[in-house]
């Protein structure tokens, strides 16, 4: 595997490319496929809820399920993850309850973050999934720091940071990979190159021939992978994880994929991209893996239908339950700014309650544009 060639294991029609043999059992393969179906099912439900105005915002990951599930299969329970906002699939695979994810998108009493952040900005400490923030790239160097801590403590854990092609231009991509190279920490830098950063195509993002080759600047291996090929992603991430776990230091992985949908529920891609999407629409990572499994008699139409129904029903039941819960308390505005609420915040809270009770009504016109 190199930084300029692209690793592929499953071809577009589900055939095996080259002489690759997988170390995954049939059960594991099927579990991976089911995780991809679940990911898309969750996404579809949430997009739908957003369109109906029942949640305020959503970021679809349609077409990027292989990247999420291929990576998610490798990482161990104790490993730390710094996810991007476009990877619900990996989170589900780590054991994050579907309920908690949906609750986050509602941002109400059920949300473990008290509705403080926009939808899809998850935080799940129990699963070592670090709080997602909107500013692009900041988490990359944080992942290096966590991996350094893991190294200093002498654990066998690793850390993985996930980001997009746009993220490679950020300041902390540079600091993150540079520090990681020097410190030789057990960190994977996994870039989903979906070829767009909102409306900016990859050619305007960087003149680097590939993103993987940026690894050269930091003295670490760079690997380019077909990101729509779940087995290729799995293999590349696994090898990089083994390297990191055994003290071999960090790697940069570029997963070549495509953002099939809009950037977010606020985006209208017809404004800036023509038919390029069409050619990529046929390159569906789920379809491709399904063909692969079907060739080996591991999957059927019936199973497909069951899996699709299952996630749909799960989502519906949870939505029904969560949707009727009340907002977080007004008090939650003031807690967690510091470990203890300091005097000036106590005063502000007290004044608010005294003068406005539980406060003001929401503005019905407020809507997020991006």
């Amino acid at each position: 595997m190199t930084a300029t060639e692209m690793l592929q294991i499953i071809g577009e029609s589900g055939q095996t490319v080259g002489d690759h043999e997988t170390d995954l059992t049939p059960d594991e393969l099927v579990a991976m496929y089911e995780a991809m179906v679940r990911t898309r099912g969750l996404d579809e439900r949430m997009i739908n809820l957003q369109r109906q105005g029942r949640i305020g915002f959503y970021v679809p990951s349609t077409g990027e399920e292989a990247a999420q599930v291929g990576s998610g299969t490798v990482l161990l329970k104790d490993d730390w993850l710094y996810p991007s906002y476009r990877m619900p699939g990996t989170l589900l695979m780590r054991g994050v309850p579907l309920r908690d994810m949906i609750a986050n998108c509602y941002g109400n009493e059920a949300d473990n973050c008290f509705g403080r952040q926009m939808p899809v900005h998850y935080s799940f400490a129990k699963q070592n999934i670090v709080s997602i923030s909107s500013p692009i790239g900041t988490h990359i160097i944080q992942a290096t720091g966590t991996a350094m801590a893991q190294k200093l403590r002498g654990t066998k854990e690793i850390t993985a940071a996930f980001f997009g092609d746009g993220g490679t231009s950020s300041n902390d991509f540079h600091s993150g990979l540079n520090f990681a190279g020097v410190w030789k920490v057990p960190c994977l830098f996994i870039c989903s190159n979906n070829q767009w950063a909102i409306s900016v195509p990859i050619e305007k993002q960087t003149a680097s021939e590939t993103l993987a080759q940026k690894a050269v600047a930091y003295g670490m291996p760079g690997v380019r992978v077909d990101g729509n090929d779940v087995l290729a992603v799995y293999k590349a991430v696994k090898e990089a994880a083994e390297l990191a776990r055994s003290g071999g230091g960090p790697s940069l992985l570029e997963l070549m994929t495509y953002r099939r949908g809009p950037h977010s529920s606020s985006d209208d891609p017809t404004r800036y991209r023509g038919n390029q999407a069409d050619e990529w629409l046929t390159r569906d990572p789920i379809l491709r893996f399904r063909k692969y499994l079907e060739r080996q008699d591991l999957w059927t139409d019936k199973k497909e239908k069951e899996a699709t129904e299952r996630i749909k029903n799960e989502c519906n039941a949870l939505v029904k339950e969560i949707e009727k819960l009340p907002n977080p308390t007004t008090e939650s505005l003031f807690t967690d700014v510091y470990a203890n609420v300091p005097p000036h915040l106590r005063e502000q809270y007290k004044h608010l309650v005294e003068t406005e009770g539980e406060g003001h009504e929401p503005d019905p016109d407020a809507a997020f544009p991006l």
């Binding site: 900016v200 406005e356 544009p369």
Partner: protein, 324 residues
């Protein structure tokens, strides 16, 4: 006269200035074919081409740094930062470089970049799409900081900013980007930087506001009027250099001051207004100076409507100073 929104006013100002002056160049994330995520740069790419309407890589530091380099050479760069919450990677460029070039070079080098960026809450953007960062810049000597509150000013102030020899941070109140519409002359005009505007004359108390808070101040005054209190609304428009004279004149007349801002209260811009009054006009004050501001917490998502200042909250403060 056309009825336009603030978005349209910004867009018109850019079009007119780019037509007037070939040196004006726009750059930023998604400002090109996409026309900006808020549509402020719509049509520009078609009208002025790739060379003058430049989609950049995802780096605010790069956007502002490149804009500085262009402007040092003689172009007039007008970068957009997509949300002001994302301006921090560029803070070093703005604070250490943009603000200090003229001074440190003894006036040999100037880079009058105009940074446009939407700021403020009210769009359900949560933590990182709602903040009001003005005070981080108003403390930085060398920068001009402008915040329009309606379409007329947005257009006239942006045009003035583009023609200004100083670097300008132009904060666009995104809550009111699209409403209400306003009549704006078709002819070329500018609004002078450094002058506040009295939006409502009154004799009993003064409210200072800027950006999206001006309409909140106006609404609060309507409510106060029902109680027989006649408020004056001072729309600051330019935060640096501040129109101190108008501030002092207004409080000298009314003797009572409520300051209003969306940003967190502690060390916010309004604190400077209190300090100026306490330094120069404390004798005229007949009541404490009350600040209505965001809470000293990060900006929330679900409870944004509880967080943000609204007319009733301002009315409470008015009541406090009027009944003191």
């Amino acid at each position: 006269m056309a009825e336009i929104t603030i978005v349209q006013a910004v867009n018109d100002a850019l079009k007119e200035e780019m037509t007037r002056d070939d040196d004006v160049v726009v750059l930023g994330e998604d400002v090109g074919v996409n026309g900006g995520v808020f549509r402020c740069t719509a049509d520009l790419h078609e009208m002025f081409g790739d060379d003058r309407v430049i989609d950049t890589p995802l780096s605010e530091s790069g956007i502002i740094g490149a804009a500085i380099g262009m402007s040092l050479y003689g172009l007039k760069a007008v970068p957009e930062i997509q949300f002001s919450d994302f301006i921090w990677p560029a803070f070093d460029q703005i604070t250490s470089e943009l603000a200090k070039f003229r001074y440190r070079s003894g006036g040999q080098f100037t880079c009058p970049v105009v940074i446009r960026t939407p700021y403020g809450g009210g769009i359900r953007g949560g933590h990182y799409h709602s903040q009001s960062p003005e005070v981080y810049f108003t403390h930085t000597s060398g920068l001009v900081v402008v915040v329009p509150s309606d379409a007329y000013d947005a257009k006239g102030l942006l045009k003035a900013a583009i023609r200004s020899p100083d670097p300008v941070l132009f904060l666009e109140p995104k809550k009111i980007y699209r409403a209400p519409k306003m009549e704006v002359p078709d002819d070329d005009y500018v609004v002078e930087i450094g002058k506040a505007a009295v939006r409502r004359e009154g004799t009993d108390f003064t409210i200072t506001a800027y950006g999206a808070m001006v309409e909140v101040a106006m609404a609060a005054c309507e409510k106060a009027a029902e109680k027989g209190w006649n408020g004056e609304v001072l729309d600051l428009r330019t935060l640096v250099p501040l129109d101190e004279e108008s501030l002092i004149a207004s409080v000298t007349k009314t003797g009572r001051l409520v300051t209003l801002q969306e940003a967190p209260k502690f060390c916010g811009f309004s604190s400077e207004l209190s300090a100026i009054v306490a330094e120069k006009a404390i004798d005229v004050m007949e009541a404490p100076i009350k600040r209505v501001a965001g809470f000293d917490t990060p900006f929330p998502y679900t409870l944004e409507h509880v967080y943000m200042p609204h007319a009733d909250r301002v009315l409470n403060a008015i009541t406090e100073v009027m009944t003191y």
